[in-house]
């Protein structure tokens, strides 16, 4: 029928070839982008490849793995990574939730206070680490040392005595604004009538927080935890600027351990194994996070 040719509701004929030709560029780029580096890392992990001994290149079997897994620094680095992640998450989410509720209240100068509390997030990690190292935590010139001396206490050499704690403080200071920002928007999205209903039901400030605000924040807390986890696993600049992973391995996390292999020992093979280990660790964490928060994100 001639009329059939004008039937525009029929989708244009499109075979599998047509779809593939459109998808191929994207798939190709994604393949090169993600899979090739992974495969190269895998390749290097089985090779003897140290820049200090360029003539001794070749297949090494599981040599790199054996070397890394017997390295006493590895267990410490994994432990430090988890400790750093856990502590910063606890501080930023905990304090962020409380501050979000407080910053939701009406008070004089709220606009300025909100800008100020967000400021640390806009400072580059290297810069803020330098500020903390030289102006806050320095045992001679630091502000904290000044405060301690002025009340008659002996100043602490933060990066020598409690290196990981110092880094946790710096990173928490940087990430608190992010948690506060996401949680504050969540607090503000809480229906005003729901809060009023709770007030009519007899909820004071504490019951309101416990039974109304906190459950409402569940999803925002889950999302913030996941985003922060992604970034906190790879903390590097703060360690590089302040302690260089020391003393010993006291403040070395996995990403800094990889750096140590590559650029302090020039051991590409060893670094590749550590990188693979970091991927495994990230995936284990992601699995648990997704599982515990999937329920929250469903609704």
């Amino acid at each position: 029928m001639a009329a059939h040719a004008f039937n525009t509701t029929q989708p244009p004929p499109r075979g599998r070839r047509g779809v593939w030709s459109l998808n191929t560029p994207t798939i190709t780029i994604l393949f090169l982008w993600s899979l090739v580096p992974l495969l190269m890392t895998l390749w290097f992990s089985f090779r003897r490849y140290n820049l200090m001994a360029p003539d001794r290149i070749g297949f090494d079997g599981l040599g790199n793995y054996r070397y890394l897994l017997t390295d006493p620094g590895l267990a410490l680095a994994i432990w430090n990574t988890i400790l750093l992640l856990g502590a910063v998450l606890a501080i930023t989410i905990g304090l962020g939730t409380v501050l979000a509720v407080l910053f939701d209240q009406e008070f004089f100068g709220r606009g300025i206070a909100r800008v100020l509390v967000l400021a640390p997030f806009f400072i580059m990690p290297t810069v803020s680490s330098l500020l903390w190292k030289n102006m806050m935590m320095h045992p001679d010139n630091g502000f904290i040392a000044f405060l301690m001396r002025s009340v008659g206490l002996k100043p602490i050499d933060w990066f020598a005595v409690v290196p990981l704690t110092s880094i946790i403080i710096i990173v928490s200071w940087q990430w608190l604004p992010f948690a506060l920002l996401t949680l504050l928007t969540a607090v503000q999205s809480l229906d005003a009538e729901r809060k009023e209903a709770a007030r009519m039901d007899g909820a004071g400030p504490i019951a309101m927080f416990r039974y109304i605000i906190l459950p409402h924040l569940g999803r925002a807390i889950a999302a913030t935890t996941m985003i922060e986890t992604i970034f906190l696993l790879g903390i590097f600049a703060e360690i590089y600027v302040t302690t260089s992973g020391g003393p010993g391995f006291a403040s070395t996390n996995l990403s800094f351990l990889i750096y140590r292999y590559v650029l302090q020992e020039y051991d590409i093979g060893g670094a590749a194994v550590a990188a693979l280990l970091a991927i495994v660790l990230a995936n284990i964490l992601a699995f648990f996070l997704m599982r515990s928060f999937a329920r929250n994100l469903e609704t």
């Binding site: 229906d191 009538e193 209903a197 007030r199 039901d201 909820a203 609704t299």
Partner: protein
């Protein structure tokens, strides 16, 4: 079960006065409806009674006790919100027992009270569900259940039916009226819908621009509106208004001259001088089409509702009127008709809009 008194109650935000001096007495076991156009302050007044808004000046008494400075939860009132404001993370039972839990009741007591309320509201099968699994009408009932379990002195409703579809609204209206009789509770109900006010109220409070225009039973207000605002607000379709002048007054009746030149003899006595401008109010059901009708008019639109029809007509000098006729009417648009006015059912208002007589 309580009496409420409002004495010279005022509310202002940043020098703008929303509630401008309200005196009211609300009686025990009555369902009082606050009705008025949007922005008249009816919700604000309710929230002031609930304690969610501060009273700028004046006194609020519940059972003789001044409660201005008592926090909302301690006033013994329960408020049902327009948006229901259910707690989404709690089940129906938890929603209803939240206030009891905060009040420190034991689990057994809470379960008993929730079960009682659920029985009254037919919610027994839904107790373990979350609000998002409920329909609009069910959520509404949970919100009411949350009020019932507290056994409040006064139930407050803030436009509770406006989020429901038309059919459900009619059904919930009936259910609420039944519930009111069943609980023998004191209720205050806020709405902008005059039909809800007329059908549900024991007593209507008509509010406009922060003041009380009139208080009374639905039929009192319908029959004897004190001013043009109340006359125009209650009744659907609205009362018709025509301008006229007083021509002569005789003992027992008054002759008024309509804008189109026709004359009407109105029984009764008026306290007004001759030749003054007045407004005549007449409800659509008090107008009839007859061959001898004094007002000549042209039909512009016919609305058939089945049981009855509304004729929208224009008089010779372009005043619009609505006439209620039988549903079987054969009148069509553009037809010429004569409208007869039932002069015993007229409302007369002076130029300030105040009714000239109270029958």
């Amino acid at each position: 079960m309580a009496n409420l008194q409002l004495r010279r109650v005022r509310k202002s935000y940043d020098n703008i006065e929303i509630i401008r001096g309200i005196d009211l007495d609300l009686h025990d076991e009555e369902l009082t409806v606050f009705v008025g156009p949007s922005g008249c302050g009816k919700s604000t007044l309710l929230r002031m009674i609930a304690g969610l808004e501060e009273i700028t000046s004046g006194d609020l008494f519940i059972d003789g006790e001044r409660v201005n400075d008592i926090p909302p939860a301690k006033r013994g009132l329960a408020l049902v919100f327009q948006s229901y404001a259910l707690y989404p993370h709690m089940t129906v039972a938890e929603n209803m027992s939240f206030s009891l839990k905060l009040a420190g009741l034991s689990k057994a007591e809470r379960e008993m009270k929730v079960a009682q309320a659920a029985q009254i509201l037919h919610l027994e099968s839904l107790l373990t569900r979350k609000p998002k699994e409920l329909s609009g009408g069910q959520r509404q009932r949970v919100a009411i259940g949350r009020a019932i379990v507290r056994n409040p002195k006064v139930f407050l409703f803030d436009e509770p039916l406006s989020n429901l579809d038309a059919e459900l609204r009619v059904r919930m209206r009936l259910e609420l009226t039944k519930l009111h009789r069943q609980l023998r509770a004191t209720m205050i109900y806020v709405t902008h819908d005059q039909v809800e006010a007329m059908t549900m109220a024991d007593r209507i409070v008509v509010l406009n621009a922060g003041v009380v225009e009139q208080v009374g039973t639905p039929m009192e207000l319908y029959r004897n509106p004190r001013n043009l605002f109340v006359a125009g607000f209650l009744g659907s379709p609205k009362m018709n208004f025509l301008t006229a002048t007083v021509e002569s007054q005789n003992p027992g009746n008054v002759t008024v001259k309509m804008a189109d030149g026709s004359r009407l003899s109105v029984p009764g006595q008026l306290d007004i001088s001759n030749h003054s401008q007045i407004t005549i109010g007449i409800r659509p059901e008090h107008l009839r089409l007859t061959n001898t009708g004094s007002l000549a008019a042209t039909v512009t639109t016919v609305e058939h509702l089945g049981s009855e029809s509304y004729l929208h007509v224009l008089t010779a000098n372009s005043e619009a009127l609505i006439v209620r006729v039988s549903g079987e009417t054969a009148v069509e648009a553009d037809q010429q008709v004569n409208v007869e006015v039932d002069s015993s059912a007229l409302h007369l208002f002076d130029q300030d809009g105040t009714s000239l007589r109270s029958r």
